[in-house]
Symmetry: C2
Amino acid sequence: MKLIADNLRITKTDVQDALNVRDPRPVQDLVKLCAAKMAFAIDVNTGPLGKSPEEGMVFFIKAVESVTNLPLLIDTSNPAAMRAGVEAAHNRVIINGFSLEPQKIEKILPLAQEHDADIVGFLLYPDSRVPKDEAERFEVALELFERAEAAGVSKERIIIDPIVPPLAWEDGIVQARSVLNVIRTLPDLMGFPVRTIAGVSNLTTGAKDKAKKNLMEQAYVAMLAAAGLDYALLDILNGETVLAANAAAILAREDIFSWGMIPG
Amino acid sequence: MKLIADNLRITKTDVQDALNVRDPRPVQDLVKLCAAKMAFAIDVNTGPLGKSPEEGMVFFIKAVESVTNLPLLIDTSNPAAMRAGVEAAHNRVIINGFSLEPQKIEKILPLAQEHDADIVGFLLYPDSRVPKDEAERFEVALELFERAEAAGVSKERIIIDPIVPPLAWEDGIVQARSVLNVIRTLPDLMGFPVRTIAGVSNLTTGAKDKAKKNLMEQAYVAMLAAAGLDYALLDILNGETVLAANAAAILAREDIFSWGMIPG
């Protein structure tokens, strides 16, 4: 299980401010911190980027690439911004992502074929509804793979995001367990080693109590690792959760173990 | 997943000393601490108890029962001590435990039938070797259930202990994952909700670095909970591991979730 930083996101005031005044330094400082924590990749969550999506995206890509060679997940729902990002990037790119929503099938999925890039596929219905159980999740996954094949994107390029639910949902725990089962069983169901990604911090969306939030994240990230998750998207600057995730990642590998493998 | 205290064990100097001078107070003090941490049960690990196993066991049972009504796991390899413990106890008793070792089949397993008690069944070969993979573990489990049935002990009385391996073993990680798979799949294989127990601290036997030991235990206990473990035997006075175990236990249940469910 590799850790991807979810720290660079437009919903943070300082990131939005950096964009507003086109000052790359706050973005660079944040990315340097994430890289120092041994992130495998950086999620560049720009949002839709309003009136000048291309130029806004290029600002972010340039800022990030000026301080790191790590792979970038380009994380926007705006197809124009996505295209601009994929075209501007020099680092390895992962398109984050597409779903069964018609606009994404038409305008975002083809970018994976054009640029021979990995692409995240969200287990969501065309209207962005979340599937309600494992059977529905498997159906959506099958359709995502069919759509990808039709677009000339090989199945090995797809990284499935089963959408971690907030525990605050009425059936959040049941859905969180369903996500674990989907991650564990998708490779058998599809007959090849399907890669998966999950946004760990979604689990505790809305939670106020930091200590309890950390406890639940740490337990769940260990469960995700045991289920065979490939990429955990998380706050890489949360030292406790990262230590827990790395310990779980070590247990989830079939290596020779030594205590020296554990950081911290 | 319920938590059982593994704190009362003869390998601790103060517990051995208490036995030597037949002073119940150190035992009582320890058990009171464990009960205060909301242990579901207390493992009374007396060892074989040397020359006067019956009287030694009765000393422990009386000492423990003078301060708690919690269920007791009577944890000795000596059949005479086990019988004395089961007969002396007033609290609910879990016999811990039997294996395919002939002496245990002959002298310990029948106690479960005589006293209508739960009994732990270790996944070990008759010579106490640990099975080397899942197939071997399933074979041993099947034979344990057969032996139990032959002794008039219903399968619902058996709590399977798949034996958590130390990570320090050359293939410790592989075995630790095999244990998770066995816990998850035994109920399907056997066709009924097989109960399971695991000694969490076995994982880090021999480890010196307390922080790393905790990290690995916390990750593994979450994986055990997700696999469906019923009883986690652990150091109930290790606050960090207990918080992690309780958080994992909450995620592993299919309840309505609320943040108030999380202790600490």
